[in-house]
């Protein structure tokens, strides 16, 4: 059975092309425009991996979402690949994590910077879904 990928991102062109690339690799895809919608989608169908953008403008950015996912035992086992247009992982830490909280903890399984080469995307998704 085809593996399912949930793409959480608010950039329509990025989402559509990512879907095309993943579907060419035999994955089934679904889409949520922000973290809040992602949590709703998760209650409908369980994906094998979640691709998560960091900086979404509407309710629930990527860091918030990844923390929610990890604190919910139903979703804890789903691998999360963070894909972001910010420069470095450290930017994500310094600009999105509450400095008073545990600053080193960004609960994701992988981290890719936009733009992502199609073969790198396919390779990372394959790696994280075959564990």
């Amino acid at each position: 059975m085809a593996k399912r990928v949930l793409i959480v991102d608010d950039d329509p062109e990025f989402v559509e092309t990512t879907k095309i690339i993943l579907e060419s690799g035999g994955y089934e895809t679904s889409w949520a425009k922000d973290g809040l919608e992602a949590l709703t989608r998760l209650n409908e169908t369980r994906p094998d991996i979640i691709l998560l953008d960091v900086m979404m403008r509407t309710k629930g950015d990527g860091v918030w979402t990844s923390q929610r996912l990890r604190s919910d035992e139903r979703f804890r086992g789903i691998p999360v690949l963070m894909i972001t247009a910010v420069n470095r992982e450290s930017d994500t830490r310094s600009f999105h994590l509450d400095p008073s909280a545990d600053g080193d903890f960004l609960p994701v399984d992988g981290f890719l910077e936009k733009p992502v080469e199609p073969e790198v995307l396919l390779r990372e998704v394959a790696r994280l879904t075959s564990r």
């Binding site: 608010d10 950039d11 329509p12 062109e13 990025f14 559509e16 092309t17 990512t18 095309i20 690339i21 060419s24 425009k33 922000d34 900086m55 403008r57 509407t58 309710k59 247009a85 910010v86 420069n87 930017d91 600009f95 936009k114 733009p115 992502v116 080469e117 199609p118």
Partner: protein
């Protein structure tokens, strides 16, 4: 601050003059106490002033730290706002060039058209950033001249009338009998007017209406734009002039192209022209933006090259 201690009176007493001795000792004692009082109040004053200096110093420090944080936050957001559309365009090109669409020509063209729009977005953003930095660097020193509002507003009206027709929004424009003369930068003011009307049309559903009122009001020029658009939720109103802020609906429905620099730029330009801007809105009902500029009085102070700084 520190008083000179008074010289003690010379000892001219007789050897057995006990009362005289006591009086002298009392005198010394009083001198001593008063010097101590002086010293204590001096030290208290010093300590108070040092505390003040410390508070001021730490206030300056935190202000500087805040500015520096805001600056790096800004750089971070700009790089995100540039990188996102570029990543989307890059993906589109990969998908088309690398054959992911298997010769589906129609889909290829559709995606390329969307990619072109995203590139335009980046260019518009860069232009906005340049304007912003121009404003930052030359606050109050921008080239300003007496200008004829009608010659700025008529082309704005023409352009916006076409846009409104395209979006099936009814645009009615009230012209005052008289338009005052303003002192300002033509290009920047044109951007203010365009941006406000463009926003109103953009956020109004087909069938809705936008009313523009442009007239002299007392010693000001009033430019008011009221729409029957989607409105702004109360919790988003305080942030509406922030750089890069865009409302949830603007983002999620893909209604607005652009990056959210528009209104923050408008506010800066208005501030730079010593005008005022206010925005009232009811979610789901509509938004009204009111801008006022002071009429330019001939011979008034603050001439062509104003050095006013905020």
């Amino acid at each position: 601050m520190q008083q000179d201690m008074k010289r003690l009176p010379p000892d001219r007493s007789e050897p057995n003059d006990t009362a005289g001795h006591l009086a002298r000792i009392k005198g010394w004692h009083e001198e001593f106490e008063s010097s101590i009082d002086t010293l204590v109040s001096y030290l208290q004053d010093l300590s108070r002033r040092s505390k003040q200096a410390q508070v001021e110093c730490s206030r300056n420090y935190s202000r500087a730290a805040e500015l520096s944080r805001a600056k790096s936050r800004f750089t971070y957001e700009v790089s995100h706002e540039v990188r996102s559309p570029l990543a989307a365009v890059y993906n589109v090109l990969n998908v088309v060039i690398d054959g992911y669409l298997k010769g589906d020509r129609e889909k290829q063209v559709e995606l390329l058209i969307r990619a072109r729009r995203r590139v335009r977005e980046v260019i518009a953003l860069l232009n906005d950033l340049l304007t912003l930095s121009l404003l930052e660097e030359s606050t109050g020193r921008l080239k300003k001249e007496s200008l004829d509002l009608r010659s700025i507003l008529v082309p704005v009206y023409d352009q916006m009338r076409d846009y409104a027709a395209e979006r099936d929004v009814k645009l009615s424009w009230q012209w005052g009998d008289e338009l005052p003369v303003l002192l300002g930068n033509t290009e920047l003011l044109r951007r203010v007017f365009i941006n406000i009307v463009d926003n109103a049309i953009k956020y109004t559903d087909p069938g809705g209406s936008v009313e523009v009122d442009a007239r002299k009001d007392g010693d000001t020029f009033l430019f008011q734009v009221a729409d029957t658009g989607i409105g702004i939720p109360d919790d988003e109103l305080p942030r509406i002039f922030e750089v890069f802020f865009r409302g949830a609906r603007a983002r999620s429905e893909g209604k607005a192209e652009g990056m959210g620099l528009g209104l923050s730029l408008v506010k800066r330009i208005v501030d730079d022209h010593r005008g005022t801007i206010s925005l009232t809105s009811k979610f789901g009902v509509g938004t009204t933006v009111t801008v006022r500029f002071l009429e330019h009085q001939k011979g008034a102070s603050g001439g062509e090259a104003s050095t006013h700084s905020r």
